[in-house]
């Protein structure tokens, strides 16, 4: 599978999905007006990856900001990961948040409560 590598912009995150490594990353700011347009290719890619995933997939989410329209798209990403996990593959989500950012921690906990995939909350200490 071709990896997805997207450079970040002030409104969209850096993305690196590489099936050779099994470590996927979404990082930066995700506040586009049209988040579906940005996330659809990622969700489609995961749909294909789901067919023959690695035995272990690690997903690092390291967002500084995300808007509510991205929050639904990120849920769609997690739902694909949940399906991979359900098919007896190891999946782990690392949710990073800056030390004073309780809102970002709570956002991670929201997903953790909805999605049946192991989450690790990781505080970034400066």
């Amino acid at each position: 599978m071709e990896p997805i590598i997207i450079e970040g912009t002030p409104k969209t995150p850096t993305v690196k999905f590489d099936s050779a490594e099994g470590v996927f990353e979404i990082k930066g700011r995700s506040i586009p007006e049209n988040s579906v347009e940005f996330y659809k290719p990622l969700v489609d890619w995961l749909e294909s990856y789901k067919e023959s995933p690695l035995t272990k997939t690690v997903v690092n989410i390291r967002l500084e900001y995300f808007n509510t329209s991205s929050s639904k798209c990120i849920l769609d990403v997690f739902k694909k990961l949940e399906a991979i996990h359900r098919a007896k593959n190891e999946v782990e989500v690392n949710w990073y948040y800056e030390e004073d950012d309780e809102d970002m921690l709570e956002a991670g906990e929201d997903y953790e409560s909805i999605i049946r995939v192991p989450f690790k909350m990781i505080e970034i200490v400066e």
């Binding site: 002030p10 506040i31 007006e33 049209n34 988040s35 900001y65 509510t68 329209s69 929050s71 809102d103």
Partner: protein, 185 residues
């Protein structure tokens, strides 16, 4: 009562206005407003927790305008703005005030007001649950909104949403939303 945006705003003149905008709300305007307010908060060494909350609330309020405003009334002075909105950001004693304004067709008032009232009578825990419910059950609408903006604003600020509807003509009102972002929830 006559319709006058500037009068409404000068009525609540305490605090320093750090940004005032009225006109079309498009993607570039949103970028510009976000950059400007962020730079100003950094310049005065605002603590990062408050800065992030203000930024988040600004994103949601601007994108609410972007996705949901009704067309301007046919007799309104500014016909060039397809998505006419108003935004004021003010520094107040304990945080920031963000005021937005936009036209609403009278037929849409009841639904919007009901939504705000529901949020305002909910506890913080209930708002959290409401957020998760909408996140998990509601699709993104044709207009591109997720239906989460106001809920998110209330959740992040921990404050009630203040609002008013001022009659513009027989079909339209102007809706003001007044959001206080404080350091402590």
């Amino acid at each position: 009562m006559s319709f006058d945006i500037e009068n409404y705003l000068s009525d609540q003149s305490n605090g320093n206005v750090i940004l005032f905008y009225k006109g079309n709300i498009d993607s570039n305007v949103i970028n510009h407003v976000l950059d400007t307010v962020e730079d100003k908060m950094v310049a005065v060494n605002e603590q990062s927790k408050l800065r992030k909350k203000v930024y988040n609330v600004l994103v949601e309020s601007l994108q609410n305008l972007y996705h949901h405003v009704d067309r301007v009334p046919a007799d309104f002075e500014d016909q060039t703005a397809e998505k006419f909105g108003l935004l004021v950001v003010k520094k107040v004693d304990n945080g920031y005030k963000i005021v937005t304004g936009n036209f609403v067709q009278d037929d849409n008032i009841e639904k919007l007001e009901e939504k705000i009232k529901r949020i305002n009578r909910s506890s913080h825990e209930e708002i959290k649950e409401l957020y998760k419910f909408i996140l998990n059950h509601q699709r993104i609408s044709a207009k591109g909104g997720g239906g989460l903006g106001l809920v998110d604003i209330a959740r992040k600020t921990g404050n009630k949403l203040e609002y008013s509807f001022k009659k513009y003509n027989d079909k339209y009102s102007f809706f003001y939303l007044d959001i206080l972002v404080t350091e402590e929830n």
